[in-house]
């Protein structure tokens, strides 16, 4: 009975009248279109709540100034010795990478807020692609990360940071940074769907980023860490992107002893692999979570 009535009414009930939504298009094009609709919504929000973008900028600028002027005179970089300007060159790739990963917290808080306000319920009741709400959000975060990187790069140039490679390599470095940021925003999306409040998503999205970004080669070389931590740091996905950027920007001191770990020897490839793996894993988990999300 079930099958018979379903089969007959599925066409007659929904499609036969002028009521209801137009027929759905195919999977991929629907995902792309719906994601852009949601991304546009998030970008409009970004423009109307500029505080979020501005605070997102102040933090890395503060880090640049604090690290380069407070620590810069005391930290010795192998191959460059103690020199504030040498440290500044070494530091920037780390700050860039940290900045894009901190977007994770924004994605998480935004999605938790949407859940809290019932918007996720609204979206889930619509005949839209199941992955689009999260993809739209992460795409909007990607745009924000790109803007932040541009401003931060200008600030870095003003305080004396320089690249020493051709423009293609430099742009590849920034592309790797954006890819890493995009990967991390999927982790943020999963956190946002898993916690009960936007506040929890903000702190839950940030806490683990501190050990992740500090147990790495971002601010100091890993070679002076205890051997266990050095292994962690050398295999940290974050370190791969930082190393790749130093390489592509020409910010690595001439005699810098590159660790033997495979990701440090092949940082560009390692960076791409890590980011793609993170996207594949966390996108799957986040979309699955979204399907059963309950506010």
């Amino acid at each position: 009975m079930t099958t018979a009535s379903t089969a007959s009414t599925a066409t007659g009930g929904a499609g036969g009248t002028s009521l209801g939504a137009p027929p759905a298009r195919g999977g991929i094009s629907r995902l792309a279109r719906d994601s852009l609709v949601v991304a546009k919504r998030n970008l409009i929000r970004m423009v109307r709540i500029p505080e979020v973008v501005i605070f997102g900028l102040i933090q890395p600028i503060m880090f640049v100034v604090l690290f380069s002027y407070v620590f810069g005179g005391s930290i010795s970089i192998p191959g460059a010795g103690i020199s504030p300007s040498g440290y500044r060159e070494f530091l920037m790739a780390g700050i860039f990478a940290q900045t894009v990963t901190f977007a994770t917290a924004g994605a998480g808080a935004g999605i938790a807020d949407d859940m809290h306000k019932g918007l996720i319920d609204r979206f889930r009741s619509l005949p839209m692609s199941r992955g689009a709400v999260l993809t739209g959000r992460t795409l909007a975060d990607l745009v924000q990360s790109a803007l932040t990187l541009v401003v931060l790069a200008v600030v870095a140039l003003l305080i004396g940071w320089r690249t020493h490679e051709n423009i293609a390599k430099v742009l590849t470095g920034f592309a790797l940074l954006l890819l890493l940021g995009y990967a991390f925003s999927w982790i943020g999306a999963l956190i946002g769907l898993s916690v009960r409040t936007p506040e929890a998503a903000t702190s839950g999205g940030l806490i683990w980023l501190f050990p992740l970004t500090f147990i790495s080669n971002a601010f100091v070389p890993s070679e002076n860490m205890p051997s266990f931590l050095q292994t962690v740091a050398d295999w940290n996905p974050f370190s791969a992107t930082v190393m790749a950027c130093r390489d592509l920007f020409g910010n690595l001191p001439p005699h810098y002893p590159v660790p033997d770990a495979w990701p440090m020897q092949h940082p560009v490839l390692a960076s791409v692999i890590w980011s793609v793996l993170i996207i594949a894993a966390f996108r799957t988990l986040a979309v699955r979570k979204y399907r059963s999300a309950t506010a």
Binding site: S5, T9, G13, G20, A24, R45, I49, F123, L126, P127
Partner: protein, 351 residues
Amino acid sequence: MPGAIYAEGLVKTFGDVRALDGVDLDVPEGTVLGMLGPNGAGKTTAVRVLTTLLRPDRGKAEVAGIDVLAHPDKVRRSIGLSGQFAAVDEYLTGRENLTMVGQLYQMSGRDAKRRAAELLERFHLGDAADRTAKTYSGGMRRRLDLAAALVVSPPVMFMDEPTTGLDPRNRQALWDVIQELVAGGTTLLLTTQYLEEADRLAHDICVVDHGKVIARGTSDQLKARTGGERVEVVVHAPEHLTVADEVLRGFAKGEGTIEPHIRRLTIPVAGGAKLLAEVIRELDVRGVEIDDIGLRRPTLDDVFIALTGHAAESADGGGGAGAGGGGTERSGTTGGSRPASAAGHRKEGVR
């Protein structure tokens, strides 16, 4: 043929809580079912299951003739959902909100814009169309939320406590909109905590508690089941209580109560305002001076007290009506009549 909203034996548990404990529903096309119940009764869970937001542990559901569990995406094209919280993006304007929802219903950008403009006018949001929803009043947000649910003129609508938290004027305005919508042939499932609201909008009502349908029928049937109308009299002096009681007995349709400490007498009646006038005349003739007199209609509180007051009876009778009544109702709707339920039969017994 099952109605536009049909559910059979829906069960959903969250940990130890049985949010839905075997719910059957059948809402004929073009009618309104009012789902009444206190907080936590399972109303929202039922709506979430029927709108594909939540998978039940057991049972089956069809909306607009489509199996909810097998074809959730098809169901989503035929429904509109307006929730307890006004689910609009407060940083988007009214127009942007509606256009976005239209596009996500797979309308083209141009169609979505045109439809948004239409709805904004219809819901008296034209002047505020290009302001962010953040600046809207509570009533305006609800109207925008409702408009978002109507973007594709879905044949089936779900409204989860649409007027909770609204002031009386806005509630009235939203009722007018809903009535207009229903007049246009939309099938509607409406959850509410207010009997008055169900009374006003619904053809049929089901009362839900602890995840079960404990009573169903028309508004009149439910009221009759709770004892119907009562006359309350507060006499001026305690010595008048006895005479007043004698008078009232003549009109009572059952056992009355006397509360001497507040000089109040209450009797169940049938006959409405006309009867009230007779009661006043008779009391006057007998020289009873009264401080207050009124005709009291049953509220949801009364419905609940009446239903849960006969706990043993309801557990069997109500539960039985839920499970067995499903069959009766289905054959009833086939014949084109209103669902005849246990509540309906009991009504005869009460009167």
